[in-house]
């Protein structure tokens, strides 16, 4: 329902919520099927060994049978689907432990790194955008160019550079792992800084760019003038017509960035030897660990879908144009 007064959006109706959740479930089901298929078609056969001649070739057949990989793909899919419906994610082929346990062990590291990166990115991004807005036009153009470059920096390269500057040259921060060798604590904040920055800086630049573009909307000035003419106070008009609509695309970005919390960033986790789920997932895909790779992918997919649902709920509150279907 359109709230023409603009004093807040109508709450998401139960029916609309149900429809969105159903759509989310359907999306996840499709992702499940495609991931299952791709993993079995593209990943290396975990039973295949072509390095140790001492292991007889029949061993591969035995291993395949033990893993249930000797059955037709359709039967494997149905068996996996059945197990998932009972809440059983299976046993990791590489780790020989329940998938649930492997992921649970890796998740805290990813959550911590992802949360720190998002916090930095979404604090820094809007600040930079506001700062840029205060610059003269030529300065703004230069800042935009710099932001574009920063937003497209490869994170592995940025990670290596951060290590070079802050660890190798300045000796200020540790370069790897979540804690010092032999330390009692599992996580040490000093170890978090560089990987979090490697993840956050390009994201912050992207956020700043998006927000700047939104704030430069040519439709804003006439709306502001109209609001003022209608007797709306200046701060209120500014909030409603310039700042709040500019938050909408940032919120959309945030929803897309949510998977960072659970899947981390594979490259950054590897460069910084950070213990997280991204690394676990990448190893699983490379090693043909189907159960673990499937679960890690579904976890990331579920976060993306949850982000989408959340965005659907939040966006109308931020941007009146969305409510109005514009």
């Amino acid at each position: 329902m359109v709230d023409r007064a603009g004093r807040g959006a109508a709450p998401l109706s139960a029916r609309a919520l149900a429809r969105r959740l159903a759509r989310a479930a359907a999306t996840l089901a499709v992702v499940f099927a495609i991931t299952f298929l791709l993993l079995h078609l593209a990943a290396a056969d975990p039973a295949e060994r072509l390095d140790d001649p001492g292991i007889p070739a029949e061993q591969a057949a035995r291993t395949r049978a033990a893993l249930g990989l000797d059955r037709p793909l359709g039967a494997q899919f149905l068996a996996t689907l059945g197990a998932w419906s009972r809440g059983e994610l299976g046993v990791s082929i590489q780790h020989r432990r329940p998938v649930r346990e492997v992921l649970a062990e890796a998740l805290p590291g990813s959550l911590l790194l992802g949360a720190a990166a998002l916090l930095v990115a979404y604090s820094l991004g809007p600040l930079v955008a506001t700062g840029c807005a205060l610059l003269p036009p030529r300065g703004q153009r230069r800042a935009d160019a710099l932001l574009l470059a920063a937003a497209t920096l490869p994170r592995f390269w940025l990670g290596v550079m951060l290590v070079l500057v802050f660890h190798t040259w300045a000796g200020l921060l540790p370069a790897s792992h979540a804690a010092a060798p032999g330390a009692a604590a599992r996580f040490d904040l000093a170890h978090l800084v560089l990987p979090a920055l490697a993840l956050a800086l390009p994201a912050a630049a992207a956020i700043a760019r998006v927000q700047r573009a939104a704030m430069d909307d040519p439709e804003v000035e006439p709306r502001l003038a109209l609001a003022r003419a209608a007797g709306v106070s200046a701060p209120r008009a500014l909030w409603r017509h310039r700042v709040r609509p500019a938050l909408a695309p940032v919120a959309a970005l945030a929803a897309l960035d949510l998977p960072l919390l659970v899947s981390g960033a594979v490259v950054v986790e590897s460069v910084f030897a950070w213990p997280g789920a991204g690394r676990v997932a990448a190893d699983a895909v490379m090693g043909g660990d189907y159960p673990l790779a499937l679960a890690a992918t579904m976890l990331a997919a579920a976060t993306v879908v949850a982000g989408g649902v959340l965005l659907d709920a939040v966006l109308p509150r931020l941007d009146p144009r969305v409510r109005e279907g514009r």
């Binding site: 290590v163 660890h167 460069v271």
Partner: protein, 589 residues
């Protein structure tokens, strides 16, 4: 050109009794290779006790039980915690075994029993002595189908382990063989106390919190995905060892980050150094690179069959793509006759391909010199059975003569040889992810081009590469095997291994080779097998089913403060209880 093997004293063969040298002497000898490590202690220095060694691991230790650990990185760490009966000195066979959990061992005259006297000082970390009961429990476990240990086939000839007293373990064999001592010694011993957990539950058990170990170190703390800390075990039965207080294994999933950590002095040990980087490190100074003979060798396997024949034949026999299928060596022999490879079934051509390949250039260019020209699947690190005279030199003139003799005497304007209407063009499939092998193939192609052979590399995604290799759909395949303590060419070049999409990828075999391999495998002792292996290598020299390009070396990077390091082909941390940290190189971490 092949380099000479390292000089080894020939051991009196057929020895039925092996009495070990003293453990200290054995530990001191290192035995890790022909190039003494720069990390080895200079004569003037005395080993010092104390300090923490930081080791970079490329993977995680995913289980603290050797029978449930799946990651390759885990095996070398677990060797420090779970002992074997004896330690192997690689390449020396039975004669190279040295005491570990057992102090002495001896064969009965008929080699049907092998008796180990356990070291009475050996204790598990829970304080209980290491007994024969643990040895018997380990064997039962290795055979337990619920555990499905992939080395179970090594135990087939062992009838039983008997315990006449707690300190004596007697292995009874169904028949004597060359590898009885190795068969008995594989793999780690685990305490009978582990009986409390049913084998079916082992995989899901968190062993780091309940591990009972026996060795120079014990588990102090574990942070999954990050590091594991081992501390000196005060109960360790070799007096005065280990020298180190603690060893921290830090997980570095990224090779470049691990190397950077070594260069920055944040880790002391990094194994599997890329050869070209090792060369740079040595040139730059400051870090030591210790070499040990490698077990891995890289080869180009030539197909004896028409590349389309095997799959077509399987299909005709109703076999599904990669499903098990009733297939025997007879099927392969039939195909060898009915569908030989139009070029490569001629041994003169295969020999010419090896002779025309400048393998020394590959060793220098791809391995930075850290390797040696390959000879046959019996690698030089295996010691006495390795026959250097089986090497073919780089000899383009002889190669040309052989190709002329085989009918490939015509030349096209581009220099490629021709026989009738067929050009001498071959394609070699390669795993696209393996850059070193692709480089080797490029260099090989350059050598062969000068001999009038056009060799084309066909890099493939890994899954497709494996499928094509198993299906024998190639002219040549570049791949590598890692040799073990046992000599195993029968696993890769016997006609039995060609059937069932087996490890004999190129399906080469001859009745003479099969017979030699069968006799050597059934030999009652290493001495009986030795001349058979030599004879087989002479046959391999003439037949060249593989062009063995090179043997890699094990390269371990060490910080300057590490002393006494003796990496071996079996483990980069071999003899870690004798490693120590030089005091002058900095305070202990």
């Amino acid at each position: 050109m092949a380099t000479a093997p390292r000089a080894r004293p020939r051991r009196a063969a057929g020895t039925a009794l092996l009495l070990a040298a003293t453990l200290l002497a054995a530990q001191g000898c290192g035995g890790s290779g022909d190039a003494p490590g720069e990390g080895a202690a200079p004569a003037a220095e005395t080993p010092r006790r104390g300090g923490t060694l930081v080791v970079a691991l490329r993977g995680d230790v995913d289980s603290w039980n050797p029978y449930t650990a799946g990651q390759a990185a885990a095996a070398n760490v677990l060797e420090l915690l779970y002992p074997r009966l004896v330690r192997e000195r690689f390449g020396a066979g039975e004669a190279g075994l040295v005491p570990w959990a057992a102090r002495t061992w001896s064969f009965s005259p008929d080699r049907r029993t092998l008796t180990f006297a356990l070291d009475p000082r050996a204790r598990w970390s829970d304080g209980s002595p290491l007994r024969c009961e643990d040895v018997a429990f380990t064997l039962a476990l290795q055979r337990d189908e619920a555990l499905a240990w992939d080395g179970a086939f090594l135990k087939e000839a062992i009838e039983a382990v008997e315990c006449p007293d707690p300190a004596t373990a007697v292995f009874r064999f169904a028949r004597p063989s060359s590898y009885q001592a190795l068969d008995a010694n594989d793999d780690a011993l685990v305490p009978a106390a582990y009986r409390a957990v049913p084998p079916a539950k082992w995989a899901e058990t968190r062993w780091e919190t309940r591990a009972v170990t026996a060795g120079p170190f014990r588990i102090e703390s574990v942070k999954p995905g990050q590091e594991a800390v081992l501390a000196r075990d005060p109960q360790f039965w070799i007096e005065g060892r280990p020298f180190l207080d603690r060893v921290v294994f830090r997980v570095y999933p990224d090779a470049a980050a691990a190397l950077a950590a070594l260069e920055a002095g944040e880790v002391d040990v990094l194994d599997k150094l890329p050869p070209l980087r090792a060369k740079e490190l040595v040139a730059r100074g400051g870090l030591a690179v210790v070499e040990a003979p490698g077990l891995a060798y890289t080869f180009v396997g030539w197909n004896a069959l028409d590349p389309a024949a095997y799959v077509a034949d399987r299909r005709a026999r109703g076999c599904a793509a990669d499903a098990p299928c009733a297939e025997s060596a007879a099927d392969i022999r039939r195909l060898q006759k009915s569908h030989p490879h139009p070029v490569l079934s001629d041994p003169r051509v295969r020999r010419a391909l090896t002779l025309a390949t400048d393998r020394e250039d590959i060793v220098q260019g791809v391995l930075g010199g850290y390797g040696r020209v390959g000879v046959s699947p019996i690698v030089s690190a295996l010691g006495d059975p390795f026959d250097p005279s089986a090497a073919l030199p780089f000899d383009p003139v002889r190669a040309a003569a052989l190709l002329d003799e085989a009918g490939w005497s015509g030349r096209d304007p581009d220099g490629v040889r021709r026989r009738g209407s067929r050009r001498l063009e071959l394609s070699v499939i390669a795993d696209a992810e393996n850059g070193a092998r692709r480089d080797a193939l490029d260099r090989m192609a350059a050598s062969l081009a000068r001999a009038g052979v056009r060799l084309t590399a066909e890099p493939l995604p890994r899954a497709e590469f494996l499928a094509r290799a198993r299906d024998k759909r190639f002219d040549g395949v570049i791949s590598g095997w890692r040799a073990g303590s046992r000599i195993e060419p029968q696993a890769i070049l016997h006609s039995d291994a060609a059937a069932g999409r087996g490890n004999n990828l190129g399906a080469w075999s001859t009745p003479e080779s099969d017979a030699l391999l069968d006799r050597a495998a059934a030999a009652a002792s290493p001495a009986e097998a030795l001349p058979l292996w030599r004879e087989w290598q002479a046959l391999f020299r003439e037949e060249q089913p593989y062009t063995v390009l090179y043997e890699e070396r094990t390269l371990v990077g060490l910080s300057p403060r590490v002393r006494g390091a003796t990496p071996s082909p079996l483990s980069p941390y071999d003899g870690l209880e004798a490693w120590w940290i030089a005091p002058a190189a900095g305070p202990p971490r």
